[in-house]
């Protein structure tokens, strides 16, 4: 039985973490250098990232392209092997789980993809698409049962009953994303990684899908890792928010704290860059426009990754890496200046 759903971030925080990541680092080889090609060069995609998510909680994972947010999402689901660090689910270390146990584990953790146009096989009907996980995991007794379960899932996701026998091309982006969500829910998972689930959708439809995800969380007591680059959407769905920059976590705090009192200079710049649909306000707004470039992840400079663009940079930032520290209750920041 799932624990009661928390609406306040604080109450969630006291329960044991549902998902926990400690010191996660992920490197990808990108070619060789040296005289005989003996030295492999690596992209440091994710570096020493730690966080936990409580049961029924939504953690928003925010970062720009190349910040490692998708890589973290995949690693948590054990789709990418970490180079270092541990991943725990329901209190068990799952970093090295293999074979049958891993497959059993996958039932409980599912992924909703970003692009509803690319993530559904165009040659399968909606029935086949949504029933596939049920069949793979042996959760459908017979074709009739599978059909009933699929119909129920589609209904839950707000799709009409005649959806089952049609192909993905017959649906709009928002409807396809609903199909993707139904498919992810088929195995009745506890934990869902939603990787930019609304980025590809139009504004008027985006809200429909965000609301659906929120309703499903209420009904099924789901835990979400919600990956996004759009700070306005994340605010509405997340209990807590983690900000990534170039593979490192720079700030993690309850949602209201991130928006009302951002402490890392990157978070501040990111928030001030989001345009607000209110012309007089937007014209008068003080904005921090960052200059400079994101460091090359193949040979990141020593010290803070944000040093090349930071308005508050000083000597210490060049040599030493700031650790994520609790600067205020539940508000962790990795910055020497704060």
């Amino acid at each position: 039985m799932a624990e009661p759903l928390a609406t306040e971030p604080k109450s969630v925080h006291t329960t044991a973490p549902h998902v926990e990541v400690r010191g996660l680092s992920i490197r990808f080889p990108v070619g060789r250098s040296g005289f005989w090609g003996g030295t492999t060069r690596y992209v440091h995609a994710v570096d020493e990232v730690s966080f936990s998510i409580g049961r029924g909680e939504t953690l928003g994972l925010v970062g720009e392209s190349g910040s490692g947010k998708t890589t973290i999402g995949r690693a948590v689901l054990r789709r990418i092997e970490p180079s270092a660090g541990t991943i725990s689910f329901r209190g068990d270390d799952i970093t090295t789980t293999k074979g049958k146990q891993l497959r059993e584990l996958r039932r409980h953790m599912q992924l909703v993809f970003q692009d509803p146009y690319a993530s559904l096989n165009p040659r399968k009907t909606v029935l086949e698409l949504v029933a596939e996980p049920l069949i793979v995991h042996g959760l459908a007794l017979n074709p009739k049962d599978a059909r009933e379960q699929v119909a129920d899932l589609l209904h839950r996701c707000g799709l009409p009953a005649d959806t089952v026998d049609r192909y993905p091309h017959a649906f709009s982006g928002g409807q396809r994303q609903r199909i993707g969500i139904a498919r992810a829910l088929a195995l009745r998972p506890e934990f869902i990684v939603a990787d930019e689930p609304v980025s590809a959708l139009d504004v008027s439809v985006r809200a429909q899908v965000v609301n659906l995800l929120q309703d499903l969380q209420q009904e099924l007591a789901l835990t979400y890792l919600f990956i996004a680059h759009d700070l306005s959407v994340v605010r509405h769905i997340s209990h807590r928010i983690a900000i990534l920059y170039a593979g490192r976590m720079v700030e993690i705090a309850p949602t209201h704290a991130v928006y009302d009192n951002p402490m890392h200079p990157y978070t501040e710049a990111l928030l001030s860059s989001v345009p607000i649909p209110d012309p007089p306000l937007q014209r008068e707004r003080r904005r921090i426009v960052l200059t400079g470039e994101i460091p090359n992840p193949v040979d990141p400079p020593p010290g803070c990754r944000f040093q090349t663009r930071c308005p508050l940079v000083h000597d210490r930032c060049h040599g030493e890496t700031p650790k994520l520290e609790e600067k205020q209750p539940d508000h962790l920041v990795a910055c020497f200046a704060r």
Binding site: V203, R235, S272, P275, I276, P279, V289, L290, I294
Partner: protein, 341 residues
């Protein structure tokens, strides 16, 4: 109203010159195997010298297709089937190949959404900017390269002299968009058409590019047509905003008026469903339903099926674009009734 403050660079209205660009009952259709897609339907508006006009709409609203007609870029199976686009009184649609060759890239320049695919990967940045200068202004190769470096400097690329020798893959997305803006500005155009210039970029880079467009607009007294789906992007940059839905222009108003008091239910819905960074809402508001199929659009208002205010009239007859006393244009039988009881 404070729309005057909003438009410091707007030309003195007393001069009463003809609009720079006039789109007149424009119709664009795509002839596909499934049928004729009515992408742009009877769209009319004009752009005054020095203003920044935003065109807002969701995917399939016809905003990009409309923009392509301004530069004669409509490609088959698409065809302009009616109406006209006039640049300083000259048609860019009818018998326009000579006019287009002169105007395109010279007086009207365009930047596109995707800076990753808009540059040719096998030529250096310098060569690609030079091409425009040599083609339209008759620069020599050497002159053109010097000018190319100046242009890169103008759009805020540091170390421009070295950058001209680099290839597109050596630059980040934001840098490439700057290069494309430099290329668009090469002939000192009067009108810059920017089709979703920041959609492919990260927010912090988007802020840089929007600032750049704003600065250039002021410094070079550029006229800008900004096409976007993001109401936030429009808010900081545009004097006037045109809202498109299903190939129709549904509302045209000053930016301040539109955001403060949208007259068309779709404009209102779009604003309501745009989550704001500075406002916490318990629940996001969405517009239920989806836009109509553009092959057989409904006879009445295309938004009627999703509209809370729709009456029988809306389903039967398409409302025309009506000009109201406050100067805004709205195509709705129940304009200004949004949010009233």
């Amino acid at each position: 109203m404070n729309s005057v403050n909003a438009a410091p660079s707007l030309a003195n209205p007393a001069e009463k010159e003809a609009p720079l660009l006039e789109v007149d009952h424009l119709e664009v259709q795509f002839f596909t195997r499934r049928g004729t897609v009515q992408a742009v339907r009877q769209v009319s508006f004009s752009i005054e010298r020095g203003e920044t006009l935003g065109v807002v709409g969701e995917s399939g609203s016809g905003k990009s297709v409309m923009a392509q007609t301004l530069l004669g870029l409509t490609e088959l199976p698409g065809r302009i089937t009616g109406g006209d686009v006039r640049w300083k009184g000259e048609s860019l649609v009818h018998d326009a190949s000579a006019t287009l060759a002169r105007v395109r890239g010279n007086e009207i320049a365009m930047i596109f959404q995707d800076p990753m695919t808009s540059l040719n990967p096998v030529f250096t940045i310098g060569t690609q900017i030079s091409e425009v200068l040599r083609r339209h202004l008759g620069h020599t190769r050497k002159q053109a390269l010097v000018r190319a470096a100046e242009l890169l400097d103008l759009v805020g690329i540091a170390n421009a002299a070295a950058r001209v020798k680099q290839y597109p893959h050596e630059l980040s997305g934001g840098m490439r968009q700057r290069v494309l803006i430099a290329m668009a500005l090469a002939c000192e155009p009067e009108l810059l058409v920017a089709d979703e210039p920041t959609t492919a970029l990260d927010v912090t880079i988007q802020a840089q590019i929007l600032d750049l467009i704003g600065d250039l607009q002021r410094e070079l007294s550029l006229t800008v047509l900004l096409i976007t789906h993001d109401l936030g992007v429009v808010a900081g940059l545009c004097n006037r905003v045109a809202v498109m839905y299903s190939g129709k222009l549904v509302e045209l108003a000053s930016a301040d008026d539109l955001y403060a008091n949208p007259a068309h239910p779709y404009s209102a819905g779009l604003l309501r469903s745009t989550p704001r960074l500075d406002v916490v809402m318990p629940r996001l508001v969405s517009i239920e339903g989806t836009p109509p199929d553009m092959i057989s659009p409904p006879p009445g208002c295309p938004f009627a099926a999703r509209c809370d205010l729709a009456v029988t009239e809306c389903l039967e007859e398409m409302p025309g674009l009506h000009t109201y006393p406050d100067g805004r244009k709205v195509a709705c039988w129940r304009a200004f009734e949004v949010g009233r009881g």
